[in-house]
Symmetry: C2
Subunit: 456 residues, 2 copies
């Protein structure tokens, strides 16, 4: 191993405790983007990154305002002719914490128990940003950077990045690069380095069904009007059949069938139903007939109610017919489903099935296509080698169930591929109570990123 | 008209404004029984009645503790040999106020707008209690009572009166009477005095469906586990068919069919679909095929979701598969449905239809049979005559959609019939925001009750 690379690795090992302590300050900021009460916290998190980037002697460290939460931009030139430019993407916003009562420690007081650090946003993904910054710090402690770096850290990912694409479109020259490093995915297990090459798309909707003009007494009016709570249940129930197949018009029309090769790749993953059962804590798995769990997650579309509300949900009983009901319903898409067509099918289904005399409203929270990343790029090779060096084994290549819309945006607007990595684990409870980071994996993640930058 | 009766009516007319002002103090007490935060208010309301009854020189004015909210008891002997004894039933508890944001004035600040006084519990039924007390006061101002009186005012009616039956069973001798006056129903319209002779029963359930051990990320796990929010929608949707018929096993087995005579009685009611449309503010009515609206309300059973909740219902989006869901579901029963059999059919339906791998829990909030009151009792005749005197027209006889379980209890334990009256109107928004009382009707109601007591 060249001397500077070894020095950088040594620096990371020696300063690990210090890295963790610094990170805790960043993680303690409750940068919840969905809730306007946390607007000041979002700004604190952005400013915290500005300080950290200035501390690493980045140039042009800027806060770019958007309609809602700002984007942090920074760049650093390594001064080496012909050096590649890596654009590092991250998001410093985090999911809401409710149901708060299920957290075993305060969501924004990073708390170590065993090998895990429990904190909202640790795994998804402030911890991943911090690992990247500490990899850069380690490299700089051993000499100059091997590549040019640009960073964009947004504050709206958990909102579906409503302002990112327009901002990127307006800064195409500034963001010019060879490859994007996106450390917002994870590994299948602590000893299974993973490169994600497929991501599902997402159409996230909200519907509201209106019935009577106001809440009614269910004794006086039960039986003579449509109850919007019953109606929304009927609508949702009709969106799937008993085999788990989605019944919205045209939903599967453009779904690429899985090739025998892809199916055998899925089978080779060191991960199966038992693992999924354990992670979910469900008594039994269930899904679309004819597919394995990993195929269902990685390569099949789905539809889930993320939230539903109507009427009286307090303690005890209230004999009310609610005036309205609402549900948040999201669909995960796979190649080549078109979000616009999916949305239209969803709207058509409701229009075709909602009873007359009941009104409904539609809102779309986010919408993006699925994507597949080219596995033969130099950056994927650099990452593969880095993972092999650190974990002593070649990575698995995986299609994942989540959405990273920015990958599509980078392809479309900057013409570059993203390399998707990250050191979260499937049981990190992201988007759920007791989110956590597996610290031994995070530590190795820093070393992996050091190697990645040198390998490029 | 005998002189004392006329004096009593005059007293009521002269003191109307004073009555209203006094009543506002009573109505301002937020005696919400479903919420333990209002425990002290419930006690204040009970004590307020104690003072009022003592002010009317009732004897044996007592507060009887129950497991939750107390019963106020009082009695007064008129000293006339052979006089009848009337047991007055009322409830001083009120419905919760949410959704609070839809109230146009504070729910517990009685506010007059036009002919209406807006306040939670005015129509249902603290205002009805007050009208009764003011009728008694008016009679006493003109001389002695024509009947013996006993009062029970409970604080748990909106909870389904969980402790009333046991308490009545333990005080059968104390409560001995000839008839019960229950002013917890209403009139069809301001000029349509009404006597209710039929009431629906109620089975009010709550179900909770459990899926994964904790909330899951819908990207990482969407498609491989049952989503409890989707499952509860599927279960609820299957409880009714597209014609509004309830599909629970055995649900209609014991429903008494409507006789041609009953159907023509329903047709004669000066009230129809247009009125129901107006009161509900719905764009269109809907219900079980083959029945009119009034038949559906008065003589057909129904099933309604009163509340439903699962997952993330805040602003924005959260890509979560919820760990659990819950719904409050109530069924209105008609003669001769048996609440125990209905509950068993409900449970059987869910057990037969819930997917494996999903757990569920059942809770019953209240359960009571429907009832029909004998229209040929002397008390019904006394009320009919009183209504004719005050409004100049004979009352209509009506079967109502709500439940008054205490009527059944009085039949069973005390062997007496109830006469069901009251001066609420269908558009009083009971159990809804902006509950109100129509004050001209309330004023005439006091006069009607004065006549009723003299007529007995």
């Amino acid at each position: 191993m060249p001397e500077s690379r070894q020095q950088a690795i040594n620096y990371a090992k020696q300063n690990y405790s210090q890295f963790v302590e610094e990170m805790k300050t960043f993680l303690a900021i409750p940068s919840v983007s969905t809730d306007d009460d946390h607007r000041a916290d979002i700004l604190r998190a952005a400013n915290h990154l500005v300080s950290a980037l200035k501390g690493l002697s980045f140039e042009r460290v800027e806060i770019h305002e958007t309609k809602r939460h700002p984007i942090v931009y920074a760049e650093k030139n390594c001064g080496k002719p012909g050096a590649k430019t890596v654009l590092i993407y991250g998001h410093y916003d985090v999911q809401p914490v409710d149901p708060i009562e299920l957290w075993e420690s305060d969501p924004f007081t990073p708390t170590q128990r065993g090998d895990h650090l429990y904190v909202r946003g640790g795994s998804d993904m402030k911890g991943q940003i911090w690992a990247t910054l500490k990899a850069i710090e380690s490299i700089q402690s051993a000499g100059s950077l091997p590549v040019n770096l640009k960073c964009i850290f947004e504050g709206e990912e958990e909102l579906g990045s409503p302002n990112l694409e327009a901002w990127i479109a307006g800064h195409v020259n500034m963001l010019a690069c060879d490859v994007v490093l996106n450390p917002d995915t994870g590994m299948l297990a602590p000893n299974v380095p993973t490169i994600v090459y497929g991501l599902r798309g997402l159409v996230y909707t909200e519907i509201k069904v209106h019935g009577p003009a106001h809440d009614l007494h269910s004794g006086l009016y039960g039986g003579v009007v449509h109850n919007p709570a019953n109606v929304i249940c009927m609508l949702i129930a009709g969106m799937k059949d008993h085999d788990g197949r989605i019944t919205l018009p045209g939903f599967y029309d453009k779904v690429l069938p899985l090739s025998p090769e892809e199916r055998s790749q899925f089978e080779r993953l060191p991960f199966g139903d038992e693992d999924v059962l354990k992670q979910t804590g469900a008594e039994q798995l269930w899904g679309e007939k004819g597919f394995t769990s990993l195929e269902r997650i990685g390569a099949r579309p789905t539809l889930d109610v993320n939230g539903i509300y109507s009427g009286f949900i307090g303690e005890g009983s209230k004999t009310v017919i609610p005036a309205w009901s609402m549900a948040k319903i999201s669909m995960r898409l796979v190649p080549d489903q078109d979000p616009v067509e999916i949305r239209e099918g969803f709207i058509k289904y409701i229009n075709d099935n909602i009873p007359s005399g009941v009104r409904w409203e539609f809102k779309e929270h986010s919408s993006n296509k699925a994507c597949l990343v080219d596995l033969n790029s130099p950056a994927v090779h650099a990452l593969t080698k880095a993972q092999e060096t650190v974990w002593g084994t070649l990575p698995v290549y995986k299609r994942e169930g989540g959405s990273v819309p920015v990958v599509l945006t980078m392809q479309k607007l900057l013409g570059v591929e993203s390399v998707l990595t990250g050191f979260s684990l499937p049981d990190d409870n992201i988007h759920a109570p007791n989110e956590r980071m597996h610290m031994p994996t995070w530590k190795l993640g820093i070393e992996c990123l050091i190697h990645f930058f040198y390998n490029l």
